[in-house]
Assembly symmetry: C2
Homo-oligomer: 592 residues x 2
Amino acid sequence: MFYIDFQPVGRRGVFSKNQSLLDCARELSVDLVSVCGGVGSCNRCKVQVVSGQVTPPTPDEESALSQNELAQGYRLACRAYPRSDVSLHVPPESLTAPQRTQVEGLEVDVVPEPAVRGLTAILSAPTLDSPISDESNLWASLGLPVGTIDFSLQQTLSQKLRDLNWQVSVALRGAEIIALDAPEIKWLGLAVDIGTTKIAGYLLDLESGKTLASKGMMNPQISYGEDVVTRIAAASKSAENAAKLQYLLTEALGQLAAELCAEVNASPMQIVEAVVVGNTAIHHLFLRLPVSQLGLSPYVPAMQSAIAVKARDLDLKIAPGAYVHLLPNIAGYVGADHVAMLLAVRIAQAEKTMLAIDIGTNTEICLNHRGRMTSVSCASGPAFEGAHIKFGMRAAPGAIEHVRLSDGKLEIQTIGGEAPVGICGSGLLDVVAQLRLNNVLDKNGRMGGHPLVRGQSGAAEFVLAEREGQEPVILLQKDVRELQLAKAAIRLGIQALVQAEGIQESDIEQVIIAGAFGTFINVESAVIIGMLPPLPLERFKQVGNAAGTGARLALISQSQRAEAEKIAKQDGYIELATMPNFNRKFAEATYL
Amino acid sequence: MFYIDFQPVGRRGVFSKNQSLLDCARELSVDLVSVCGGVGSCNRCKVQVVSGQVTPPTPDEESALSQNELAQGYRLACRAYPRSDVSLHVPPESLTAPQRTQVEGLEVDVVPEPAVRGLTAILSAPTLDSPISDESNLWASLGLPVGTIDFSLQQTLSQKLRDLNWQVSVALRGAEIIALDAPEIKWLGLAVDIGTTKIAGYLLDLESGKTLASKGMMNPQISYGEDVVTRIAAASKSAENAAKLQYLLTEALGQLAAELCAEVNASPMQIVEAVVVGNTAIHHLFLRLPVSQLGLSPYVPAMQSAIAVKARDLDLKIAPGAYVHLLPNIAGYVGADHVAMLLAVRIAQAEKTMLAIDIGTNTEICLNHRGRMTSVSCASGPAFEGAHIKFGMRAAPGAIEHVRLSDGKLEIQTIGGEAPVGICGSGLLDVVAQLRLNNVLDKNGRMGGHPLVRGQSGAAEFVLAEREGQEPVILLQKDVRELQLAKAAIRLGIQALVQAEGIQESDIEQVIIAGAFGTFINVESAVIIGMLPPLPLERFKQVGNAAGTGARLALISQSQRAEAEKIAKQDGYIELATMPNFNRKFAEATYL
C-alpha cells in the first residue's frame, strides 16, 4: 500500500499498486479531466510526478507526451501505477475547472396545483373509552377516509404526534400522507435538471409555486468521463461503477438540496416532492437502471414512462416519504430533459412552425409543424465542451469565448478577461465563422491565406493568442474538422426533420435555442458556419435553461405534468441513422 | 473480552464484561427460557458454571437458587457477568424445548381470486426502426395499458428480458408488475400466523388456491421474553432491541419460506404475495412500528388499518417486489390474528349466537348475537405456557398433559410418554378440575384432604409425580391461585360480552375454541374449573389454528380480504377494565 499525495489540491490517501493514479484521484474526489473515461486515449489527465516511483511510461504515454514533458515527470494518470509513496503535482488544465453553470431560464407562470398539498389537523388524544389507533385518529381529524401513510412515516408517527402535542401539518399526495410536522411548517419542492456536465437545482414553495432559490453545480459523474457514452461503458463494466455513478448523483442532489434550503433557512426534510429531468442515460444512471442496452444498437431505454420513486429508495436526503418524479423519456437519446424543454417552450401550443433545439454533447431537436411534433437526436460530440480540440476547454475563466477578425486584425475576448488558456465552444464557433467570413477557411474547411496561419494543408494552424514563455493558443486544421463534424450532425438533424414534414428550412418561423451552451453562442456565427439554417436572425430566440423551467412546471402543476406525458406520447421520433443517403448528406452538411 | 462456551448446545463466542450470560446466549441464539425478559424475577434461565469466573451471586440469585445449586455453580444467566473465559452447562429445563407447533386448521375452501395473477407474454426484440423501451415493450406484449413496474424489478428488467429470450411470465398485482420469470414459473403465496410463542406458515399455489406445504416453528423473539408485555418493554427500552426483535421475525419468516419452498422444489423468489397475521404487538414489532404506547394506558395501536408493505422494505427474503399484506387490527390487544380467526370461523355469517375464543397468554373472545359482533381481550397471563407455575412448562416432551383422579388414585399422561418433567397448560386444567371434582380443592381453591397433599394452607402442595433422585413434580397452592386468576380473566371476558348484549351465558348456542392451546385442552375440565361457561359439551367445537386458516383465505381471495376488513370495522370492542364493578366480578370469577 502506498501513500499518494495530490498537490496543490491537497488530497491524499493510501492505495494499492493495482490502482492507477486516476483511480486514486477519483477516490479522493480530485476532479481530473478524463474525457475518455480512463482508457488512455484523450490524453487529458496529465499529472507530474514530483517524488516517488510509478510504473514506466507506456507506448500510449510516449506518443501523447513530449520528450520534455516525460523528462519533467509528466504522466497520464490513467496509465501510471504507484510503486512507492508518490507526491504529484496536478496542473490546472488537468482539473475540471469550476464552470459557468446556468440556472436562469423562462419564468414559471402557472396556477399552482402541486401533487402534494399541506393540511393541518388537531387530534384528540386517545382515552380508554376511545382507544383509537394513532393512524385512524389522524385520518379522522383530517376529515378524510383512511388512506395510506408512508411506511417510514408510519414507523415514527406515534412519537411525532405526541411530541407535537397532537397538532400537526401533513403533506398529502393523492390518498397518501408522506410527511408530518408542526402546523406552521412550509412544504417545499425540488426541481432538478441533471445535465451531462452541469446540474441546475431549484427550490420552490409548493403552495405559492414561487421559486425560493436556485443553484448550479458540476455533475460529479464527470470524473467517470465527460460524455454519457463513456459513462455508459463504465457502468456496464461493473456493478460497482454503476453503483458509484448513482451514488455520486444522489450525493450531489442531497448537497444541492441542503444548500438551497440553507439559503431560505429551511430543512431538506421539508422537501416533499422532487422532479428530476436528464437525458435518458443520466435518468437511467440516477435510478440505477441498466444502461448497457443504451450503448448498443438499437439503443433502447429500459423504461420510457414517467415514474415516481420514493426518495428513501434512492437514498436521497429529503423527506424519506417524498416521491421523486421523473418525466418520461422519448428514446434512448431523447430523454426527459428534452421533454421538459419542450414543455417549457410551449412548442405543443405553437401556431407557427417552430424548431426547438438544445445543443450539447448530444443535441436534441424538435420540429412542430401544424401541430405535429417530431424529434431527432444528433451525436454532435463533445467538441463544444472542448474535447478533441487541441486547446479546447469548457466555459471557464481564461477561455476564449468571442473572436473577431476584421481587416486582417484579430480581437479575442476571454471569460473573466483573464489571460487566454484555451478556447471554449462559443469561441470555437466564432473563430471558425470569422475565418470563413475572411476566407481564411474555404467552403471545405481548408485553412490558409492569412499571416497568422502557420504550416500547410493538414498541418496548418491558426495562432489565436501568443503567450509569454508558453506555446501560443492555436486552432489546428484538425480542430476545424472536428467542428465541421459536430455542426454537420446538428444541421443534418434539422434537415431530417423538415424533410420528414415535406417542408423547407426556410419555412421554419421560429427557432428556440435552449440550454446553457446555446445561451452563450453567437447565433450569427452558428448560421455562418452552417450549423443553423440561414434564417433571419429575429427568428432565433435563446431561452436559457428551459429543461430546468420544465422541471419546475411539472413540480408545481399536475396538469403540466400530464402535459409533459402528452408531449412524450405525441412526439414522433426519427432515428437519424435510418435516414436515406445518410452518408452523402452528412458529407454535404460539413461544408462551411 | 472473554470467551464464553455454552454446552451441550455447542455455541461459543467472545463477549465483554458488560454482557450478562443471558445477553451472550441471545447473541449466540442459545434459546434460554426467560419468561421475565431478563430482569431476575422468573428464575428460569439457570446455567451451571463449569469453569471460569463470573460476578458473585446477587441477592436475587441467593433467594432463587438452593445452597446446593449455588455450591454446584448454578447461576441465573440474566444476573451473572463473565470475569474470565467461561465454560457453561445449560440444563435441558433452561432451554425452550422444541415445541408441539400447530399448523392444522379448518380447510380453505373458496374460489381463488388472489391479489396477484400470473400472465405470460412473448415480446418482439426491439430494432432500430422500432426502438421501443423494454418497459413499454413488456406492457404492449401483455396487451395492457402502461402501469407500474416494481422499482427493483425495473432495475433488472432489461437483463432478464434478454436472458429469457423475450419470453416471460409476469406476476401482476392490480396495475403493477411485481415479478418476472420464465413462462413456466409457478407463482406462490405465503400465509403466516405469528403467535407470541409459535409461528405457523403455509405455502399456497396462488392459481389453484391449494396449500402445498405447511410448517410450524418457534417464535425466536421468545429469548426477549415469553409474553408480549415483556417484549414491548424490551423494544421500548432501546432502538437496538426493537430492531433486533424485528430482525428475528424477518429472519424466521425467511427461513420458514425457504423451508416450505424446499419441500416443493421451489424458490422463495416465486413467492409474490404474503399475508401475515399476529396480535397487535407482534404486528407492530414485525413492521417496526413503535410499541411503547401499546404498553401504557390507553393502549392504542400505532395503526389499525390493513397495510401492504413491500417485502424488500421489510428485508423479507421472498420476491423483492412482493407485497406483505397485514390484516387490520381492532385494538391494542385485539389484533389481526383475531380478525383472521373470526374470518375463518365464519362468525359474521353465524345465524346462531356464537362465541369464538382464542386462548393464550392473551385471550381474545368475540360474541356474535343477532349479527352484532363484539370482542374483548383478557390478560389471561402466561400460566398456560407454564410461567409462574412451579413446574410449569410448555407443551414439550415430558410435560404432564392429562390427569385423572379416580377413587383416590392418580393417573398422569405425559407428552411423548416420557418421564415427567413438568406440567403444561392442558395438564394444569386437568389436574385442577380433577382435584376440584374430588374435593381436594374447595370452591375458593383451597387445597387439602388427600394423602398426596403435603403441607398446609398457603404452603400446601399436591404431589403429581415422584421422581427417582429428584424432587417430585408438584402443584403448589400458589399455582392453583395463578390458574384461578387466568381462568377468571377469561370467564369475566365472556360475561362482559353476554352482559353487553343483555343475554345469559346459557343463550350461547355455539362456542368455537381456536388456537393451538385450545386444541389440546379437555373442554370438560375447562368447564369444571369455570373457565368456560357450563354449557352442554356438544356446543363446543375445537377448530385448531383458525388464524392460520384466515391468513390463507385472505391470501388467495380478495373478497375474503375485504371481508376481513369488514369484520374489523363492524366488530365492537369492549375494554374490560371499564366494566362496572370490575374488581368484585373478577373476584367472583376466580371461584372454581
